[in-house]
């Protein structure tokens, strides 16, 4: 099944939040079509009644005592922020 340039644009904009050039869109449509064609062989595997395995340890609900620990000082926590305002991360308006 072919993945079209329009599907690539939709995935990039709506799901992956990636700006792509026209050349990148064309390349990705071609590469993803080829890769999805390859992974389609999984449909040959018989998996009726098989439980999905999301994680090799199959752990759930790992608890530890809720003891307060020292946390990073604000200046250190914000040191890598691209834009800072006071003690906060600065972002453009959320509602367009």
């Amino acid at each position: 099944m072919a993945i079209t340039p329009n599907e690539v644009r939709w995935i990039a904009r709506e799901l992956a939040r990636l700006d792509l050039s026209d050349a990148e869109v064309e390349d990705l449509a071609r590469d993803l079509t080829k890769i999805v064609g390859y992974v389609d062989q999984l449909q040959e595997a018989k998996t009726d009644g098989v439980e999905p395995l999301a994680h090799p340890l199959e752990l759930s609900n790992v608890f530890r005592p809720d003891n307060p620990q020292p946390s990073l000082p604000v200046d250190q926590a914000l040191a890598n922020a691209p834009l800072r305002k006071g003690d906060f991360y600065a972002v453009p308006g959320v509602f367009e």
Partner: protein, 489 residues
């Protein structure tokens, strides 16, 4: 001195024939001589290396207790956080990122009195099998500078192979420690999932990623693994088991020993020279008294397809954090939040990372999640079940690490699927969470190293290391050095 093992360097310090500073200076010299060609290192702060080495020497002079890696330089892959030092992940998006804390493995290296010896090049976000996907430089294979070192931990593997450092750490999500170890002629190990903490390891595929050691022999790999393994309260996916003193038992041969050989690991596309070297290694084990048994891994043919759905789905989610808000690159001009996200990520990520994010987002999208992601998780269970059954009949499974020796720079970079298939023999271990090790087992006619892979059941690292050591002790491959190192000596 630079050709010695960590064990030998430790003895030199104990007998006073060398100290941490003279060792550090010897390796810094080696980097100066060779890294212009090999390009293994991304960051190396000489003053910081010497400061650590002098501090170890001062501790020794004051007769303070010293850790098991005292004065031993260890390079780390640029995906692990070292407080205040760059951690770029081979990506432009993290070009200016300096982590505010140490990864647990880094903290453990400090506790063991190791000398943190810079950080090494890698495929961007550990996505690749050749280290060509780094945004900064292409690392070369020390055995042939026209060839790739493998990947994604190619810098860490090449640095050890070129004797620029005795030990290094990589990470292995689909073979990224074992495959470059094989292509560079050294030993590399992926521990059981959960054996080593992932705290401070910048995530790619969280259910697959595992930190692993590189060294020039199995004894040194055992020493490095025991220093970094164990439960970490900061990583809820680290197994609830303390570390084991692997280096104390590694020299004991495993007897009786049953080795499983799977026909699926000698499939179409396997280079005849690799096959011959691996079959010869089976004969070595026979001569050491091992029983060889046929085992079958019928679902391994689905491993590459399963991996490239599971790993990319996890990556598309993990890499959502690079949003230009908390850390990393933010575009200069944008209109609104969404545009800021799209532009920052579009500018910051390289081609392969974009490709994998897109594939993962597609596999998780409404309408496709059952056919792709959930289907892959079911096949993942079948792959794990194959191993459970096989290990009921044998101690380890033996096969090639990589289907071919090192390929040439540029040879596969235009064909992502061909590149993905170079992990065909390594990725099942990540899907199943089992440990694996690659050990040198010969050379191609063109002088490139070949590697043998041994796999074991979960938490059987001790057994795996002992079996690997038996082969190493019976052969001489580990004593060969790449031409640029041999010329030096």
């Amino acid at each position: 001195m630079i050709q010695l093992t960590a064990h030998e360097l430790r003895r030199l310090q104990e007998t006073g024939q060398a100290n941490a500073e003279s060792i550090a200076r010897a390796f810094l010299d080696a980097v100066r001589r060779h890294d212009g060609q090999v390009k293994a290192f991304l960051h190396l702060d000489e003053d910081e290396v010497l400061r650590q080495a002098k501090a170890i020497d001062a501790k020794r002079a004051a007769k303070q207790p010293l850790g098991p890696l005292a004065g031993i330089p260890v390079a780390i892959k640029d995906v692990l956080c070292v407080q205040g030092q760059p951690a770029t992940c081979g990506s432009k998006i993290l070009q200016n990122f300096r982590p505010p804390y140490d990864a647990t493995v880094v903290a453990k290296l400090r506790e063991a009195d190791a000398v943190l010896f810079g950080s090494t090049n890698m495929d961007e976000f550990a996505m690749g099998s050749s280290t060509e996907n780094s945004a900064y430089q292409t690392t070369r294979n020390p055995w042939n500078l026209d060839c790739v070192p493998g990947g994604s931990s190619g810098g860490s593997a090449a640095a050890v192979a070129a004797c620029e450092v005795p030990l290094s750490l990589g990470t292995d999500t689909g073979g990224s420690v074992r495959q470059p170890a094989s292509l560079c002629g050294i030993v590399g190990m992926k521990p059981t999932y959960g054996r080593v903490s992932r705290y401070g390891l910048i995530a790619y595929g969280s259910s697959l990623d595992q930190v692993g050691p590189f060294a020039r022999d199995v004894g040194d790999v055992a020493l490095l693994l025991e220093s970094i393994a164990g439960h970490d309260p900061r990583d809820s996916t680290s197994g609830p088991r303390p570390s084991v003193a692997y280096s104390q038992t590694v020299d004991q041969p495993l007897k009786p020993l049953t080795i499983g050989v799977a026909k699926e690991y000698f499939a179409e596309g396997l280079d005849p020279e690799v096959e011959k070297a691996v079959r010869t290694a089976i004969d070595v084990y026979k001569s050491l008294g091992a029983t060889i048994k046929d085992v079958t891994l019928p679902h391994s043919r689905f491993a590459v397809a399963t991996y490239y759905l599971v790993a990319t789905a996890e990556a598309s989610s993990n890499l959502a954090r690079y949003d230009g808000v908390h850390f990393g690159h933010r575009a200069a001009d944008y209109r609104g939040l969404r545009d800021m996200h799209c532009k920052s990520r579009g500018e910051g990520f390289g081609t392969e990372v974009k490709r994998r994010i897109m594939l993962g987002a597609y596999a998780l999208s409404s309408g496709y999640v059952d056919a792709y992601y959930l289907k892959a998780l079911k096949v993942r269970r079948l792959i794990k079940n194959d191993f459970d059954q096989a290990f009921a009949d044998c101690d380890v499974i033996l096969g090639p690490t990589s289907p071919t020796p090192a390929f040439r720079v540029g040879e596969k970079s235009a064909d992502p699927l061909a590149m993905y298939l170079s992990d065909i023999y390594t990725i099942s271990a990540n899907l199943a969470g089992i440990p694996g090790i690659s050990v040198p087992c010969g050379f191609s006619s063109s002088g490139l190293p070949l590697g043998l892979q041994l796999l074991a059941a979960p938490y059987e690292e001790e057994k795996l290391l002992r079996v690997a050591r038996m082969y190493e002790q019976a052969t001489e491959w580990r004593r060969r050095r790449p031409p640029l190192v041999a010329k030096d000596a």
